[in-house]
Symmetry: C2
Subunit: 190 residues, 2 copies
């Protein structure tokens, strides 16, 4: 009689992501998810046998979304500045919701993760660094950007500013995050 919810798996991923962003990976339990979705904890285990499988799924989804963003940005007519701003916007949306990014959150728990998940996290980080580095290189080549570091190092600086920026500003206030964002652009824009 009651219609089956075919989106349970998606909902678990969505809630899991949110819980990591708000509380941290080792601070939430399957019960937190099952209560909110009004299902039994065994339902979560059906979709993700172990907690590490859930985390792996969440990271994979993140990777897919970054690939999509990359695809959308690599279309004609989009300036390098717009690309970097699109990247920053992802973090700004987190900051507005008092969430932190998955990367920053899971990094703290890195040594509690099984090897397979460590590898996926590493893949995500390298992908993002490469993405940003590519945009920086492109922007420098077309005269939009100027900076003295290598694109890789500059992307490290931006990534660390943003990842820790959302973390710190959750405690010290949004103003600090805004200041960081402005400075990131100031550092590279001609």
């Amino acid at each position: 009689m009651t219609p089956r919810n075919t989106d349970t798996k998606e909902e678990i991923l969505r809630l899991g992501t949110e819980l990591i962003q708000v509380y941290g990976y080792n601070a939430f339990s399957y019960a937190d998810i099952s209560k909110k979705l009004d299902v039994k904890n065994a339902a979560i285990h059906y979709h993700f046998p172990g907690k590490e499988d859930l985390l792996a799924g969440i990271i994979e989804q993140y990777i897919e979304r970054y690939k999509e963003l990359d695809k959308n940005l690599n279309q004609p007519g989009i300036t390098s500045k717009q690309k970097i701003e699109a990247f920053i916007t992802r973090y700004s949306l987190l900051a507005e919701q008092n969430k932190i990014c998955i990367i920053g959150s899971v990094c703290s728990d890195y040594n509690t993760l099984p090897g397979s998940v460590k590898a996926k996290l590493s893949e995500l980080i390298e992908m993002v660094l490469t993405m940003v580095g590519k945009v920086l290189k492109e922007g420098k080549a077309n005269g939009e950007f100027d900076f003295s570091e290598t694109p890789h190092t500059q992307s490290l600086l931006i990534m660390t500013n943003l990842a820790a920026g959302v973390q710190l500003s959750r405690i010290t206030g949004q103003k600090d995050y805004t200041a960081i964002c402005k400075s990131i652009l100031k550092q590279i824009i001609v």
Copy 2:
């Protein structure tokens, strides 16, 4: 017969700090500490009734150590550059040991902390930002440094580079941390 260990409390603080830096606050238990110290878990509860008391103690100790560092640095003959380098060195020591800083680690778990600990963490962060900001301002005034941001914003940039730097480089490799450190100095030194 067996001599009493009067350093148990100090050892608990030391181990607790290490566990947070390596695994994260919500990933370690009193059992982890009691096993390593070869005492019963009740001994840990004797010194720190709740886990939040332990975290509060760890943050307080951190605050004290930063105050000491500040005191040691604010003596005649120490250049602003040396002061900033001393600050960076604290993070470099962590990076060498594959540890992350308490601030970065606990930030991820921020929303799982009781109000009293949140306040202490906030105090620590503001203190460090102020300390670094002061050195930056002084260095700019005496001609050692030059940067276009306010001292507060510049200290935010340095703090986020370092805090997330040790986190990321634990995954991507030490070379990335080294690159970040070099760039931090390059950004401010005349």
